[in-house]
Amino acid sequence: MSMIQALNSALDVMMARDDRVVVLGEDVGYFGGVFRVTAGLQTKFGKQRCFDTPITECGIIGAAIGMAAYGLRPVPEIQFADYIYPGLDQIISEAARIRYRSAADFICPLTIRVPFGGGIFGGQTHSQSPESLFTHVTGIKTVIPSNPHDAKGLLIAAMEDNDPVIFMEPKRCYNGPFDGYYDRPAKSWADHPDADVDEGYFRVPLGQARIVREGGDLTILAYGTMVHVAHKVIDEHGIDGELIDLRSLVPLDIATIEASVRKTGRCLIVHEATRTSGFGAELSALVQERCFYHLEAPIERVTGFDTPYPHSLEWSYFPGPIRIGEALDRLMRE
């Protein structure tokens, strides 16, 4: 199944298993969401369990926090990550802190689903990757799947988690893995091994990275869409690279990262978000602190540029095969 179908299946499975799970957001009810992730849920589970909301992100998240305090397990959808900013106060000051400030008197089991990332000609307001805003906030978890299997298993784990989770969906991968070659025909998930997704209940635990490809020459850390782009570039360059899909940024699987870099001695970090203070900076610092004496080359970051996401020039902005390939070559020359 596609990532959209996998996400839909996760919601379907959990709504059937647990009547506390409630789906809310702009257009998620009757229409089934602009990306169709919530399609059919209202028909199946009724309007009390899946419903449309007013267009106010902090209202959606604030109300969901109240529902969670009551004892429900709300799954609000924010239509695009670019629109989550009005809801940040409710995420940062409230959802993230309610357990802590109340000494677990109240908890906030909330899964905020939010499509993010570029490559769909969405311009500045439909393309951003704001994950580092969330990873900087203590008290919330930030989870990013890269394929249908993980999307379903991670979303189920997020919905079962008793902490608030920002679940970021790389929308460029909704309908197929994207290898970074924008001028090639779009691929579908049909023949991809990670698209063979169980119809029923299963979990992919939060905080466990996945080694997508084992290798001895260098370690590539990536998540979301960039996993597929990096994979393609490794193959094209004939490098014995070890590719790690982080899957969740907080909690981070530091053990897998550390073991890999100690083995390979080289580390490339790839993300689509802007460079300055991006999550790559955190990864780079962690690798430097823990693996410095094993490194044979400087840690490299390949990222989006420090500009707003441009509309017509998005394929110049996007960290594609050329940018990653140059970094790989630099690293391997050292």
Binding site: T53, G62, G66, Y70, Q90, R99, R101, F106
Partner: protein, 429 residues
């Protein structure tokens, strides 16, 4: 340079120049006080509508002032809740207890026993009147001046002081500012310092209750200044759209720290009138008249329980003391404001009502004042056995890292170990 002039200034036209209006309060320090501009209707002037009446039929209530106690201390008019004597005296004692508590803990802050305190002097009726009208199981989403909810629900005051002192028995492990209580078992949601974030949360809680076929309702409070926050409107939007069983309270105590209510829009309309745009009832209530607060809350609660949705209540009151221990009101408002506030003091008004009713007298009032002061003093002594802020008798360092997440992730475990190591070096046993 793009050659454009972005510096503002006058345009080339000969149209008359505009002026910007900056609100200014009626009195400043040194000014005489004249409250004659306030319209204070007689208590029987505003009829109590049936709880099932359409919101549109009661628009006038948003501009009036619901009162029960008249100038002769009688309970009159259709809003009179006809409370029994026991309830009246319990309300009186609860307000007296809160005032004694506020006075004592304010002094404790001045003595350096804690970092911060906020009194609700003059506003005791707001939270206590409402709590008496709510069911014990209803969930309250308060702001920072509704500690009266806890007094009215018999929360242990030693525990409140432990929290204020951030000591070793602080139920919140020294993580929160003093007075930022959390008490789920008492229907008191964990307090935030960010304003009106509790408004959409209360609406969401009420929506959840309704969706589960529960009978419990939610109530929330914010100050008049913070009605300017987006979340105030988000809460009302959700409440109105989903017909949530929620009471939205605006405590109009005239001041947001030093800014008078004009900066929240009071020059043009009332805060109760904010309800009209949402199509829900908006009731403006004398917040220093605990019977009026009780009656209006009871009305709104009945309406919510009849599945008729939310109500907005403006509690018109006066912040008699400073905003907090970090504020000096003499620097920005006339010293006479408090004394001449035409709606009096809520404790005095209820006391006089009870005396005139023949169920109370000055001697018993004095005895009760002494008794509540002693109760607070005893609680304070007990709490001080558990330590005061900065005294060393606080929580072990590892509690700082607990409850950030349900399970502690590796990076917090590492930092926790570091904190324990540092502590051993800083304060060797």
């Amino acid at each position: 340079m793009n050659g454009r002039d972005n510096t503002g200034g006058t345009s080339g036209s000969n149209k008359p120049g505009l002026t910007l209006h900056i609100p200014e309060p009626p009195f400043r320090p040194g000014d005489p006080v004249d409250y004659s501009y306030l319209e204070i209707p007689r208590p029987d002037a505003i009829a109590r509508p049936d709880e099932t009446a359409a919101a549109r039929s009661m628009v006038d209530l948003a501009y009036g002032l619901i009162r029960v106690l008249d100038d002769d201390n009688r309970a009159v008019g259709s809003w009179n809740p006809h409370l029994d004597d026991t309830t009246l005296l319990r309300m009186l004692r609860t307000m007296a207890l809160q005032r004694a508590f506020d006075d004592r803990l304010f002094r404790a802050q001045r003595q350096g026993k804690t970092s911060f305190y906020m009194k609700a002097t003059g506003e005791e009726a707001v939270a206590i009147g409402a709590t008496f009208a709510l069911d014990r199981e209803d969930m309250c989403f308060p702001s920072y001046r509704q500690q009266g909810i806890l007094f009215a629900r018999d929360y242990p005051i030693v525990q409140m002081i432990n929290q204020i002192y951030s000591n070793r028995l602080d139920p919140l492990f020294g993580r929160q500012l003093p007075i930022m209580y959390s008490a789920r078992a008492y229907g008191f949601f964990t307090l935030s310092g960010n304003l009106t974030t509790q408004y959409p949360q209360a609406a969401g809680w009420a929506m959840a209750s309704a969706s589960k076929g529960d009978s419990r309702i939610a109530a929330t409070w914010c100050g008049e200044g913070s009605t300017s926050e987006g979340d105030f409107h988000n809460g009302l939007t959700f409440g109105a759209v989903y017909n949530a069983p929620c009471i939205f309270n605006v405590v109009n105590n005239q001041y947001a720290i030093s800014s008078y209510s004009g900066f929240a829009g009071s020059e043009r309309t009332t805060f109760a009138a904010r309800a009209i745009g949402y199509g829900i009832p908006g009731l403006r209530v004398d917040g220093n008249d605990i019977l009026a607060v009780y009656a209006a809350t009871n009305w709104a609660a009945n309406r919510a329980r009849l599945n008729l949705g939310p109500t907005l209540l403006e509690l018109f009151t006066y912040r008699a003391e400073a905003h907090s221990t970090s504020d000096d009101p003499s620097a920005y408002r006339s010293a006479q404001e408090r004394q001449e506030w035409p709606l009096g003091d809520p404790i005095t008004r209820l006391k006089r009502h009870c005396i005139d009713k023949g169920i109370w007298d000055i001697a018993r009032q004095e005895a009760m004042d002494l008794e509540v002061a002693q109760e607070v003093q005893a609680a304070q002594k007990e709490a001080e056995q558990n330590g005061i802020l900065g005294h060393g008798l606080h929580q072990p360092d590892q509690t700082m890292f607990q409850d950030v997440y349900e399970e502690m992730p590796w990076h917090l475990r590492e930092q926790s170990e570091q904190a324990i190591r540092e502590r051993a070096l800083k304060w060797p046993e």
